[in-house]
Assembly symmetry: C2
Homo-oligomer: 779 residues x 2
Amino acid sequence: METDAKMPEGDEVENTDSSASETLKTINGGNSSTKLDEEIRHDLELAAVYVSDAQYNRNIFFDTSPQGVRLYMLYNHKAMLVLVYLLIIVNLGLAVFEDPALVPLPIWATMVAELICLSAFTGRLIHYAKVIPAKKFWKDAKNICIMVIILLTLVDMIIYGSMKAAGLYGVRWSRVLRPLFLVNITEGRQLRRAFRSIRNALPQIFYVFLLFIFTVLMFSLMALKLFGKRGLLTNNGSPYFTDYLQIVFDLYVLVTTANSPDVMMPAYNANLFFAIFFIVYILINTYIFMSVFLAVVYNNYKKYLKEEVRQLVRAKRYKMVRAFRVLQETLGEEPTVSQSRWNQLVRMVQPNISNAHRELLWSVSDTDRKGHIGKMAFVQLADILNIQVITMKSRPHPLQTWQPGLYDSAPSRFIRRIVQHKVFVYTYDLIILVNAVFIGLDEENPLISNVEWLFLGLYILEILLKLYTFEPRGFFAKHQFWNWFDTIIIISALIATIINSSLSSAGSSRQVLDIVFILRILRLIRVMDSIQRFRTIINTLIKIGPTILTFGQLILVVYYIFAMVGMELFKGRVKFFESGSTDPQHEFCGNPLLKGTDFAELNYCRNNFNDIISSFILLLELTVVNQWHDILYETSLGAHARIFFVLFHVVVVIIIINIFVAFVLEAFFVEYTVAKSHLQTSLEKKIEELELGVQQDDMDNNLVESMETSENDLGSNEAGKGKPSLMFRIASKRYKTVDGLLQKIFEADLGPEDIIEEEDIENPPQSEANIQNPVYDAI
Amino acid sequence: METDAKMPEGDEVENTDSSASETLKTINGGNSSTKLDEEIRHDLELAAVYVSDAQYNRNIFFDTSPQGVRLYMLYNHKAMLVLVYLLIIVNLGLAVFEDPALVPLPIWATMVAELICLSAFTGRLIHYAKVIPAKKFWKDAKNICIMVIILLTLVDMIIYGSMKAAGLYGVRWSRVLRPLFLVNITEGRQLRRAFRSIRNALPQIFYVFLLFIFTVLMFSLMALKLFGKRGLLTNNGSPYFTDYLQIVFDLYVLVTTANSPDVMMPAYNANLFFAIFFIVYILINTYIFMSVFLAVVYNNYKKYLKEEVRQLVRAKRYKMVRAFRVLQETLGEEPTVSQSRWNQLVRMVQPNISNAHRELLWSVSDTDRKGHIGKMAFVQLADILNIQVITMKSRPHPLQTWQPGLYDSAPSRFIRRIVQHKVFVYTYDLIILVNAVFIGLDEENPLISNVEWLFLGLYILEILLKLYTFEPRGFFAKHQFWNWFDTIIIISALIATIINSSLSSAGSSRQVLDIVFILRILRLIRVMDSIQRFRTIINTLIKIGPTILTFGQLILVVYYIFAMVGMELFKGRVKFFESGSTDPQHEFCGNPLLKGTDFAELNYCRNNFNDIISSFILLLELTVVNQWHDILYETSLGAHARIFFVLFHVVVVIIIINIFVAFVLEAFFVEYTVAKSHLQTSLEKKIEELELGVQQDDMDNNLVESMETSENDLGSNEAGKGKPSLMFRIASKRYKTVDGLLQKIFEADLGPEDIIEEEDIENPPQSEANIQNPVYDAI
């Protein structure tokens, strides 16, 4: 063993795994059998941690002593992670209760909650500091960042508390820092990566932006000179294009198309040919410059992400080589790992893996059936573990074992044949469409509400028939998304409808009815799944879902910061009155400055910064961009509101939305072009060799191969005839992790030097730092 | 000669080129010297046509007899092309004068003009029919298309004319077909290609669109059920979300963000949590689906264009091989072309090429200095002719030859050193910025208008100083874009200012003043060019300019068709009154139905279909999308207006704008990634070898290498010291043709099978049709 493992001390090693006691050559041999067992166990644990790190792309340089490894496993325990994320959500959620609050709570309550969160984060940080060497800990910017945030927050809390105690006005400025916990937490890798790729793209974006601003300023100057002296009036009677700064703002808004064509109308009404000015402006600034922004963001995103994923793959292979070193035995001339050790390792890494699945993976790795594998084959382990293999047991229907005579009788077989026929699916598609029409009709008509019961009955009948025909455990297997979807929707609809009808005799509840409606309409989605072309598109969209979550976090961080600043700056400027209000202030949102403005006239009073939820919705409206110049009720907000709103526009619309679009583009191109990855194909080949595969439907794989296809021949014992009782299928295109998708995206560009990286890894100490820490730096 | 050339008949061959008479081995030898000369001349002409076709990617299968070649050369003559395009513009422009007219003309006048255009198009078609074989002519869809359009137009004109004569109402429906002339004309290759790539992308777009519409319908149903029964009111007091079709339309408009957040406000005001419905809707339909549309369009665009460019390259090489066959001589074992024939050919293809440039190209082709080149080297000719080489003659300043003593005196040298110094550039940048501030100030102040004279004087001084320092012919060389720009702007400004001041003593003219202002502000663009980073971005934008023109044509075709239909459907529904009008109808645009609508209130009366210009501006506003639901003044237009407007949105915004964005993205990626192409590099190497290169400035080529860099050392005799009197520089990154850029885009993907395609071409007859006709089919 080349690891820096300390000698195991005789402590609480439980020898639960009997197969771990088999003899094997350890390089630094122990004397007593217990010691040997302990060592073997430690080696396995260490290797399992390496494999698991490689599998999930963790890049933490942990202490390899037995205690270190245990501590590290505890650090990575799921419960710990869930707790940390929960506390981050609680910490962020405190904004709901703090002034300006949606649900006001006393200051001490929110303070105590925040203190609990902060101490938990501190605890987590201390745990992390114990896991990794002290030098590494202090070199890592994200740890420093967390410490600084905690300290600043404490200082702010003390100041704010004492200000409040003294009856003075205080600002909780440290709330802006809260989302940074989400970014700097160890597991926020994807998020940090997204921020890094934004940061890397910034210089180029900046130059294009400068040029863009220059163009806007120049056109504004031209507009001032062309229109300023003509005495034109805007629609609300104010002078048109006479103030330079106002023109700059109006033309900036025009780039976002929000005030088109209003801003043009006075000039256009005065002279037909003034429209040319605006056409040229829109062409250059809206179409060309915005495309250039997308191009710059997309290009940088691709470039830097490629580099990062390359480092990730390198780090993964390095970790797998370390795991191999820990477990290796020198049987012949080459170091190898035996099947038994490999089995122990896989069982430790993924405790709930089935024996059949594990043996399949082994047969893929050990292609020559030698009983042991070399380094190259071992290194694949992290990748093949990440390939989702669906194990399907072809077992008889429970009814068949219970009542074989009845189940195999002619009428029963007829029913089952009908259910498996395509016409059955088409009939139900038709029923759903007819149902859609009935949903559209007035539900207060008693006839129609009774017809709803009929439809509900039909849907329940469908599920029962399918359960009769198909083996239930196969029908409700993990990956049968649409079966689960159907069943849950139908049962919920049944329950909600029953509740609703029992209530309506007493007095109808609007909320329950709403739920009933939504459930009824969600049933319609099923039709989309019946059409192959649609299904392929939907599957692609579902696949990019997890990564959209990363962007969700990104947006959350940016929104939260802007919401906090916005609330401090603009809270209470506008009041919202319920629509029944008789308050005379109702008309101008409680702010006399807004009298007669578009803001008040369009009834935008609820678009305000008075609480965190309203702020988020307002920021979303600003992201959609339209009417943002009206939402920017500047008369009541002051000039700094413009800076705030334009800054938001630049950050969110120009940068983040473009990165989002870039990601969707890239993901779709990958789906369109890249074939299945090499490893998946080798696994598939093996499955075919072993004749364990389930035939795929003969659908065209135009976009993506669907994975919910074999619904009809799944689990039915007719389909299972003549086939082995156990079948595998690869959920080939669904990625367990976001990293998987990213690696897939850039796989085509990853050269062979990344595959055969081992020679460099043979003597790693000095390169270790480079390999271990590619994603270490915080934002 | 393997061509199917007919024996030359003794006709008007003028033997102008004396070098053409030199003896060489022709494969089918002639007897008399005259005949030989004629044949040589014909061979040269034929080869020149092939090379020119290859250079400009023309794919016309012409008759190779001497008459055929002459006819074909006439067909491709620039004057003919200009005339055809001019007549197409006239034909399209007739809409300005036809009812509903901007400038009404009698029907007979427009009819006569149209007849002239049609007969010219017919003539052109007949010419084309004479150039290519009859079979080819009738197989080509675009010829049939032109004939059908001409026939239909004539029929329509007769019907319309007789209807009008009878005093009946007639519709000029054939006007919709007019833009198809632009598409189906032989030279409209780029445009046809764009249409083809749209057509190819349509099936995939269609499925995504269906899914998108399904989603909209489902959300609309949900909205109807959730909000319909709550008795909510919109801002103008009408019931909110009670009519299904209205909801569908409102939610479709929400996808384009045009009615955000107005459409949400009533629900949001009623309950905070209803906002979730709209947020989910916007996320799915606006962000995800619109990105998917871009991805689908982009992907298809890329895929099909790649295939077409591959065919184009293949056809080009094939044509070059044919040219080689015509000229080849078998000196040794391999067929070659001698330098003298090559020279004659190049002189014929590009009559205005300089001898030095031609010799440079030869030395690139004939790397071994053998005096003749093989097929491989010859085939490059079309490509190297397309590389723009700037020939710079380093000659002394005319003042130096005229007054050497004065020009080389100490004060003169001092002035020249100052002008060449960086500080001189910075000083003028500062002057421009100060000038910008003065422009912004009130020009009616006499002080400021006098300061303007000062600035003008300073700019003129700058130009004079530069002309004093740099050699004038070098300063005003073809590629010195910014020098030309500066000089033209300054001189125009000088003239306009003089006219203006002479007029203002009599009575100021607003138009002249406008021109003065615009020219003054355009001067400011110069600052952008001084900053290297900006210059690189601008150069990229300038480079994609020609291709943006193709999209301009595409947009023109689509706009024209929609404008014609729109004018027939909606003309006269809305009247525009000048702002001073006292007509009581002024308030509601002359249409009582519009009373109190947003359309009238926002003063949108000029947004109408009353003439072609207004229609185009209206369609542009619809392309920008914002407020299109208000522009769609449905009360006065009827329900079919919605179909028209939505159709326009789908065609222009979802398809064409996305293709535009796709093109800009692709062009930028090429600029970012692809290095100089192989041929350019070999030419550059040669230039370096010959020590004729001009040193590039040591700028960073972050985006693109600029080409207006050597302004300072160009033509000045100091810089020329010790260097040869003739220098070349490659205008490497500017493409002469759009095809050049496209080929560059896909060059990276064009495999070696496209480079060494000759073996297939050795025996072409059956593959000829495939190679010759890749871009033949019309839309």
